[in-house]
C-alpha cells in the first residue's frame, strides 16, 4: 500500500461520505415530514401519523387560529366540525397517553409562536388530577424537534426511521397521487365498541383495590399543583385566548371501577378542587358532561372504560358550541352533588344483564 494510493482512497471515502450525508440531509429538509423547517409543500403528499413527531411542526408552520388538544380521547375530533361551529381554522394536536405537563408545554410553545391562536379546545383528563404534576408515560422523546437548537437536528436529518416512515412514505404517496392525510383523519381511529369489547380490557372482578382512598391535605396539594403548574400556567399567560376545557365523559364502567376501589369520594373531591381553580380564570369555559347519562351508560359508544367513538366527539363539539354542560360558579356544586348521587347509587349489575 503506498501513501499516494492511500491518500486518494481515503479522500474518496471522506468526500463520498460527506456528499451522501449532505444529500440525505437535503432530502429530509425538503420533504420535512414533521414540518420542522417549513409548512407542507404544495406538490408533495403528506402522511400525518406520529403525533409526538408531527405536532410541534404543525404548531410551527401551519396556518390556524384554533386548536384541539388532549390525550387519546381527542383523537377522533374533526377540526372541520369545529371550524363550522366556531368559525375557526382549527388544527388537532392529540398526544396519546399524555400527561398534563406534556400538553401544557406543547400548548405554550404553540401559543408563543402563533399570536392568532385564539381558541383552544383542551380535554382535561379526569383521571389525572391525582397524579404528580409532571407525570409522563414516555421517557424517550424527540426533544430535538421541540427546541430551537439546530445542532441536535442531526437526529432528525440522519435517521433511518424518519427516512423510511416519513420521507419515503411521503414520496411514495406523492408518486401514487395519494392525497395528504386531512386534519380530520389525523390520528383518528375506528375501533369496535360495545360491551364485549370493553370487557376485553375491563374486568370488574379484577380491579386493583390496593389504592389510596382518602382525600387529605396531600391530595389537595397534588390537585392544586397539577392544575396550577400546568393548565393555569398557560391559561393565565395568554389572557386573550379562550380555553374551552372539558372533562371527558368516561363510561359507566369507569365509575363502577371507582366504586369498587372505594375512590369515588376521593375523585369527586379532586374534581371540586380542580373545578374551583379553573372557574377562577376569566378566559376559561369549563364543561362537564357527566350528566349525559344516555351516552355514559351506553356501552355501544365505548371501546373501553374511557375511550368513546367519534360520534361522541362530534356531540361534545355541539354541546360546547351550545354551552350545554357549561360549569359556572353557581352550578358546579349542584353538578357535583348530582354526580355523587347518580354514580354512587347506580345499579352496576344491570350493565351485565
Amino acid at each position: 500500500m503506498n501513501q499516494k494510493a492511500a491518500k486518494k482512497w481515503f479522500i474518496k471515502c471522506i468526500l463520498t461520505l460527506v456528499t451522501l450525508l449532505a444529500f440525505i440531509a437535503l432530502t429530509v429538509i425538503i420533504v420535512d415530514p414533521y414540518f420542522h423547517y417549513h409548512k407542507p409543500l404544495p406538490f408533495l403528499s403528506y402522511r400525518l401519523y406520529e403525533e409526538r413527531y408531527t405536532n410541534d411542526g404543525i404548531s410551527r408552520h401551519f396556518d390556524f387560529d384554533a386548536m384541539i388538544t388532549g390525550s387519546s380521547i381527542t383523537q377522533n375530533f374533526k377540526p372541520s366540525e369545529m371550524d363550522a361551529l366556531f368559525g375557526a381554522n382549527t388544527v388537532k394536536e392529540s398526544f396519546s397517553g399524555a400527561g398534563y405537563q406534556e400538553l401544557a408545554d406543547n400548548l405554550d410553545r404553540a401559543l408563543s409562536r402563533n399570536k392568532n391562536l385564539k381558541q383552544v379546545l383542551w380535554a382535561v383528563d379526569y383521571n389525572g388530577f391525582l397524579r404528580e404534576y409532571d407525570w409522563a408515560r414516555y421517557e424517550e422523546y424527540p426533544t430535538y424537534l421541540y427546541d430551537n437548537n439546530p445542532l441536535n437536528d442531526v437526529s432528525y436529518l440522519f435517521n433511518k426511521s424518519i427516512l423510511y416512515h416519513g420521507v419515503m412514505t411521503n414520496i411514495a404517496m406523492t408518486l401514487t397521487k395519494t392525497p395528504s392525510t386531512t386534519m380530520d383523519e389525523y390520528s383518528s381511529w375506528d375501533m369496535e365498541t360495545g360491551l364485549e369489547v370493553i370487557l376485553t380490557t375491563y374486568d370488574r372482578n379484577n380491579v386493583n383495590t390496593d389504592v389510596p382512598t382518602g382525600f387529605g391535605e396531600e391530595e389537595y396539594n397534588m390537585v392544586t399543583q397539577t392544575i396550577t403548574l400546568n393548565i393555569l400556567r398557560v391559561v393565565n399567560k395568554y389572557p386573550d385566548t379562550t380555553f374551552y376545557l372539558f372533562y371527558p365523559p368516561f363510561s359507566i364502567f369507569y365509575w363502577e371501577s371507582l366504586n369498587i376501589k372505594g375512590t369515588l369520594d376521593r375523585q369527586l373531591r379532586a374534581e371540586q378542587v380542580a373545578t374551583e381553580l379553573l372557574l377562577a380564570c376569566p378566559n376559561v369555559k369549563l364543561y362537564n358532561f357527566f350528566d349525559q347519562y344516555d351516552v355514559i351508560c351506553n356501552a355501544d359508544y365505548y371501546s373501553d372504560d374511557g375511550h368513546y367513538c367519534e360520534e361522541i366527539n362530534s356531540r361534545i363539539l355541539q354541546w360546547i358550541a351550545q354551552d350545554t354542560g357549561l360549569v359556572t360558579k353557581e352550578n358546579y356544586l349542584g353538578k357535583l352533588a348530582a354526580e355523587r348521587e347518580f354514580y354512587a347509587n347506580y345499579d352496576y349489575d344491570s350493565l351485565y344483564e
Binding site: 482512497w9 450525508l21 437526529s155 424518519i162
Partner: protein, 487 residues
C-alpha cells in the same frame, strides 16, 4: 461521549484529527499532546463533569506517587509509595463500585440498615484504575521509565481506550506518543483506521443494538419464556455481547490507527475457541494478560503444584467476575468460568482427539450458558431462567421477541419490498436467519485485525466503508413508537 454518537462522529473526532495533526505540522509537539488530553477530557466529561474531576485527581495523585517512587532510593520508601498507590486505586474503585454491594450484603446478613451511597459508577473507572495500578507496580519493580506529566496523563486518558479498554501498558503507548515520526499524517493508517472504525460501528449499531432490543424483552419477561425462547434469548445475548465488545474494540483500534497509535489486540474471534482457556486468551485479551501478570503470577502461577495452580486460576476468575460488576451474578459467573478451566486442565481436555467443530460448539454453548448469569439482574432471576430453559417446554417463540425484530425499520422495509408474504407466514424466520448469519460470522469470518492487516484499497472496500458508515449513522437515532393506547 459514545463513539456511536453524532457528536463524536461529526464533530469530536474530525476536530481531534485536524487539531492534533495541525499542531504537529506546526511542530508544537507538546501542545499536540496537551490538545489530545484536552479532547480526551471533553470526551470523558461530556456526560458528567463531576467524574472528570475524579479522573483528574486520580491521574495527578498516581503521577505524584510514580515520580515520588522514582525519586527515592530506599526500598522501604519505595514500598510505601507502592502500597499507597495500591490502596488509593483499589480504594477509589471499591468506594465507587463495590461499597454499596458490600454494605448491602452486610445489611442482609446482619439485618442491619447501614446507609448506601447510591453513587453512579464513573464511566471506565475499572479500566483507568487498572491501567494506573499497573504503572505504579511497574514503577516499584523499576520497569517504568520516567514520563512527563503530559505523557502520563495522555496514557491514562487517551480517549480511544479510556472507557472500555483495551487495558494498555505504559510501555506500549507512551513510546508511540514520544516518537515524533508518528506525528505526521499517514494516509495508509488513516485508511486502515477508517475501515476498522466502519466495521466496528456497524457491529455495534446494526448488529449488537438489534440483539439488545430482543434480549431486553427476553430478560424483562423471563417467566413468560419457554425452552425455545430461552435458547433464542441466550444465544442473542451471546451475540449482543460479542458484537458490542468486538465493535467497540474495532472502533478503538481504528481510531488509534488514524492517530498513528497501534493499540494492542483485545478481541480475537473468541467464539472460534476450542476450550475455555483458549476463549479467555481471545476475549478481552488485555484484561486476561493483566490478571495473569498482576494476580496469577504474584500468587505463584503454576509454579507451586497442581492444587495451587487450580486455586490461583479460581482466584483470578473470581476477581475477574467481581471486576465485571458488583453483583453475585458476576462473582458466580467468574467462578463458573474458573471451574470450567480447572476441569479442562484436570481432564487434559485440550489433548483429547475431538473434532475441532465439536470443541468450538461445546465451548460456545457452555460460555453462552454462563453468560445467562452475567446478564441476569440477580442469581434468583438466573435460576428462574434456567428452570424455564429445562422445564419450559419447546413451543413457539415468545411473540414479543419476534415483534421486536419486526419493528426494525429494515424489517419493515423488507416487508414492503416483497417479503411480506414470507414474513407473515413465517414470522420467526427473519429473526432466526439474522441470528444464524451472525452466529456463522462469529465462527467463520476473519477478525478485524486480520482484515486491517491485509487491507487492499479496492473499490469493494471503499463501498464497504461508505455503506456501513452511512447505514450506521442513520441508525444512531430512531423513532420511538408511542403506541400505548391509554390516557
Amino acid at each position: 461521549m459514545l463513539f456511536n454518537s453524532y457528536i463524536f462522529i461529526f464533530l469530536f473526532f474530525p476536530l481531534t484529527l485536524i487539531g492534533y495533526y495541525g499542531l504537529n505540522y506546526a511542530k508544537k509537539y507538546n501542545l499536540a499532546l496537551a490538545f489530545l488530553i484536552g479532547m480526551s477530557m471533553w470526551f470523558y466529561g461530556y456526560n458528567n463533569i463531576y467524574y472528570l474531576a475524579i479522573l483528574i485527581v486520580s491521574i495527578s495523585i498516581n503521577y505524584g506517587l510514580i515520580t515520588g517512587m522514582a525519586s527515592v532510593s530506599a526500598k522501604r520508601l519505595k514500598r510505601l509509595f507502592l502500597w499507597a498507590g495500591v490502596f488509593l486505586n483499589i480504594g477509589i474503585l471499591f468506594y465507587f463500585k463495590y461499597y454499596d454491594f458490600f454494605i448491602d450484603n452486610i445489611n442482609s446478613a446482619l439485618k442491619a440498615e447501614f446507609p448506601l451511597l447510591k453513587l453512579i459508577l464513573p464511566l471506565g473507572i475499572s479500566f483507568y484504575t487498572f491501567q494506573q495500578l499497573s504503572c505504579v507496580i511497574d514503577s516499584y519493580k523499576g520497569e517504568c521509565e520516567h514520563y512527563s506529566f503530559l505523557e502520563y496523563a495522555l496514557y491514562v486518558s487517551f480517549f480511544p481506550q479510556l472507557i472500555a479498554g483495551p487495558i494498555v501498558y505504559h510501555n506500549e503507548l507512551i513510546p508511540q506518543f514520544q516518537d515524533i515520526g508518528n506525528r505526521k499524517i499517514n494516509f495508509e493508517n488513516l485508511s486502515r483506521g477508517i475501515y476498522a472504525f466502519a466495521l466496528g460501528l456497524a457491529k455495534k449499531v446494526l448488529i449488537a443494538d438489534t440483539f439488545s432490543s430482543i434480549v431486553t424483552i427476553g430478560y424483562n419477561n423471563i417467566t413468560a419464556l419457554n425452552t425455545t425462547s430461552v435458547i433464542l434469548v441466550t444465544v442473542c445475548y451471546s451475540l449482543q455481547l460479542y458484537f458490542d465488545f468486538s465493535g467497540y474494540c474495532d472502533m478503538a483500534y481504528g481510531m488509534g490507527y488514524m492517530l498513528n497509535v497501534k493499540l494492542p489486540a483485545n478481541f480475537n474471534s473468541p467464539y472460534k475457541a476450542e476450550s475455555f482457556a483458549d476463549l479467555w486468551n481471545r476475549w478481552h485479551m488485555t484484561l486476561t494478560r493483566f490478571f495473569i501478570k498482576y494476580v496469577y503470577i504474584p500468587l505463584g502461577g503454576s509454579r507451586r503444584g497442581k492444587a495451587r495452580t487450580y486455586l490461583n486460576t479460581l482466584i483470578v476468575f473470581i476477581v475477574s467476575g467481581l471486576w465485571h460488576g458488583a453483583n453475585w451474578t458476576f462473582i458466580l459467573w467468574g467462578t463458573l468460568n474458573g471451574i470450567v478451566i480447572i476441569i479442562e486442565r484436570f481432564t487434559k481436555l485440550a489433548s483429547l482427539k475431538i473434532p475441532k467443530i465439536i470443541k468450538m460448539v461445546t465451548t460456545y454453548s457452555l460460555f453462552t450458558f454462563t453468560c445467562s448469569l452475567f446478564r441476569s439482574a440477580s442469581v434468583k432471576d438466573a435460576g428462574i431462567l434456567w428452570i424455564r430453559l429445562f422445564c419450559g417446554g419447546f413451543g413457539p417463540v415468545y411473540q414479543p421477541l419476534i415483534d421486536a425484530f419486526g419493528d426494525l425499520t429494515e424489517s419493515k422495509f423488507l416487508y414492503r419490498a416483497g417479503f411480506g408474504a414470507i414474513m407473515t407466514n413465517y414470522p420467526w424466520l427473519m429473526l432466526t436467519v439474522f441470528t444464524a448469519i451472525a452466529l456463522a460470522a462469529c465462527f467463520t469470518l476473519k477478525n478485524t485485525q486480520e482484515k486491517v492487516a491485509e487491507l487492499t484499497l479496492s473499490n469493494r472496500k471503499f463501498f464497504v466503508v461508505v455503506i456501513l458508515m452511512i447505514w450506521s449513522i442513520i441508525s444512531l437515532s430512531g423513532i420511538s413508537e408511542f403506541l400505548y393506547f391509554n390516557f
